[in-house]
């Protein structure tokens, strides 16, 4: 080998910002925060999730789609029309950017599920996979199945996000460039998360950029999920199919399965994913020991192994958590009603120079931040 190689001091970057009073603010802040950690990513992926960005369509499922060709768009729209009323459909606004190239076609759809569809779907499918006593939940199960079907069966079409009043803007590039490309600063949301990618095990492609989503769950992740194979097989039994070639995908589906479908609290969901070591569980007082033992036993295949720090977004809140021996960084900050999570303190200080409080979370112990009591997203 000839010459020298510049060191790339990478390791992924993540950021999350939540206004607990649900005051909406421009995506410009989150771009500035993630831009500061430019050197943590290598230009092979960046993305943003914004919550509260579509107030005029807040009851619609906002589908963000990536298409590699016109046929995939045609097939997807034909597929969507069968079961959804498409109240609005448009290209996602972008601006030409010198460093964002080879862009797929980017479209978004504001959808309502047709009235009879969910009932028909629930009765004709395996009860365990899709059925729910709760009507709204049954509809969500149906929407999940549609996302899976597009990702699995329509060549060249991938769903970037499918939640209500939220959307994901992601692609191949440095995150700040992706933000400019998607004109993220023109949106206002009460919560933003972001990711700068340094792919290690999987290809840097548009669908493989973070955040990973299902419904209104979004996940940005620094690390590697070495339990991906086990998690993926476990999820398949519940109708989730991994198609995006990146380990982080399983985390979004696990939150949907454990919390929304199986009713575990967010705390217990985190406990299942970042389970404590047995030697620690054995020291817990009863009945905590018994409860945590049960969670570890039942959800052994949902446990995430390997290094991670995560910011998980959902309607009305976000979660920050690291693996149980803290192999990746995560810092929290707070100023008045705004809470920040980030890989580096400097990325918080970039947009909040004088926080009331800055602290690092302990390994495996989640910080769960929600909108203040009574505040509607």
């Amino acid at each position: 080998m000839k010459g020298t190689f510049p060191r790339i001091p990478s390791g992924c970057s993540i950021t999350g910002i939540l206004n607990k009073k649900a005051k909406r603010f421009s995506g410009a802040d989150v771009i500035r925060s993630i831009r500061l950690m430019h050197d943590r990513s290598n230009g092979l992926g960046g993305g943003f999730a914004g919550y509260g960005i579509y107030p005029q369509y807040k009851d619609h499922y906002a589908f963000h789609l990536l298409y590699t060709n016109e046929a995939s768009q045609h097939d997807t729209e034909y597929f969507l029309e069968k079961n959804f009323v498409i109240d609005r459909c448009e290209p996602i606004p972008t601006r030409p950017h010198p460093r964002i190239t080879d862009t797929p076609m980017l479209w978004r759809y504001f959808l309502r599920v047709k009235p009879y569809v969910v009932e028909q779907f629930s009765s004709s499918h395996n009860r365990e996979l899709v059925k729910s006593a709760d009507e709204a939940d049954a509809e969500k199960n149906f929407v999940v199945s549609q996302v899976m079907e597009i990702n699995q069966k329509i060549g060249g079409a991938f769903v970037a996000s499918s939640g209500k009043n939220m959307g994901v803007f992601k692609g191949v590039g440095f995150p700040e460039d992706i933000g400019e490309f998607y004109r993220v600063e023109e949106y206002e949301g009460y919560m933003w998360t972001s990711h700068g990618r340094f792919p290690t095990n999987t290809p840097g492609w548009w669908g493989g950029a973070h955040p990973f989503t299902i419904l209104d769950w979004s996940v940005v992740h620094n690390g590697e999920i070495s339990s991906y194979g086990i998690n993926r097989r476990y999820l398949e039994a519940f109708g989730y199919h991994c198609t995006l070639q990146t380990d982080t995908e399983v985390i979004a589906y696990l939150f949907d399965l454990l919390h929304r479908r199986q009713g575990l609290s967010l705390e217990n969901t985190c406990l299942a994913l970042a389970a404590p070591f047995w030697k620690e569980i054995d020291r817990y007082p009863e009945p905590k020991r018994e409860a945590v033992t049960a969670i570890r036993q039942v959800y052994g295949s949902a446990m995430l192994n390997g290094p991670f720090s995560l910011v998980v977004g959902f309607t009305g809140g976000m979660i920050g958590i690291t693996d149980r021996i803290k192999l990746r960084p995560l810092v929290c900050g707070q100023k008045d009603e705004v809470v920040y999570l980030s890989s580096e303190e400097s990325a918080i200080r970039e947009i909040c120079p004088a926080p009331d409080r800055v602290w690092t979370i302990r390994a495996g112990e989640p910080i769960i931040v929600k909108l203040e009591e009574g505040v509607q997203p």
Binding site: P9, D39, I325, K326, R349, E350, A363
Partner: protein, 246 residues
């Protein structure tokens, strides 16, 4: 003294500028508006350099540093003093994970709490003895694989219920000493270490460093010393010495 406005400067530019000025003979620096720039002071080898940092410096501050004194008037991030050889870093706030990784000389003073894997694989050789003192608490793996040096954790202004140090304390440690101002839960101890009381030799080693630490941050030395200290040292020097020959 050279004042540098670091606002918006990439770490490459900032560190190149510092290096060039140091070669031209500048010995006192004040870096303003620092935020997130990595590798500040890395490889600097002039023992008479003094640098004040205003803002939060990025990771790997003072790595491979050999002589200068750096004062941070704010919090700092991860991996300060990586393989540092001589000099001193003083942080007037908290700091992150993996501080003093493979540190082989010099001193690292952190006023507040520190993160995980602090003092990992510190080492010493004859008079080259690194010293790392943190005023607050620490996360798991404190002093992991430590092969030498002095690691001190004071637990000052500790909130009730917050442990002094985390789990896996001194795991794999085979040299050096850890001084703790507070109790140790035996459950958290690595298999390679045991807890002892301090003797006179300990105080003559620890005392002067602690005095300097208290002077740097305005702590009362006598009050700090009035706390109950214990020390951790490895119970075997060469735990794997017979691994391949027995």
């Amino acid at each position: 003294m050279e004042r540098i406005d670091s606002q918006g400067l990439h770490y490459h530019e900032l560190n190149e500028l510092i290096k060039r000025l140091a070669e031209e003979g500048v010995r006192e620096f004040q870096l303003d508006n620092v935020n997130g720039q990595r590798y500040l002071g890395t490889g600097l080898a002039y023992p008479d350099i003094k640098m004040v940092v205003n803002g939060v410096p990025g990771n790997d501050l003072a790595s491979f540093m050999n002589g200068p004194e750096i004062t941070i008037n704010d919090n700092a991030q991860d991996a300060i003093g990586n393989t540092m050889n001589a000099g001193q870093v003083t942080v007037h706030g908290h700091a992150g994970d993996v501080l003093g990784y493979g540190m082989r000389g010099g001193r690292l003073f952190i006023k507040g709490s520190v993160g995980y894997r602090v003092g990992i694989h510190m080492k010493e050789y004859k008079k080259q003895v690194p010293v790392l003192i943190a005023g607050g608490t620490a996360g798991d793996f404190l002093g992991e694989y430590m092969a030498g040096g002095v690691l001190v954790l004071l637990g000052l202004e500790r909130q009730p219920g917050v442990p002094l140090a985390g789990d896996y304390l001194g795991t794999g440690m085979h040299g050096g000493v850890i001084y703790l101002r507070g109790e140790v839960d035996p459950f958290t101890l690595g298999k390679e270490v045991s807890v002892f009381d301090l003797d006179e030799a300990d105080w003559s080693l620890l005392g002067p460093h602690l005095q300097d630490f208290c002077a740097a941050f305005g702590f009362n030395y006598d009050e700090v010393c009035a706390g109950k200290f214990c020390k951790l040292i490895p119970v075997s020097n060469r735990p794997y010495g017979r691994l391949y020959c027995s």
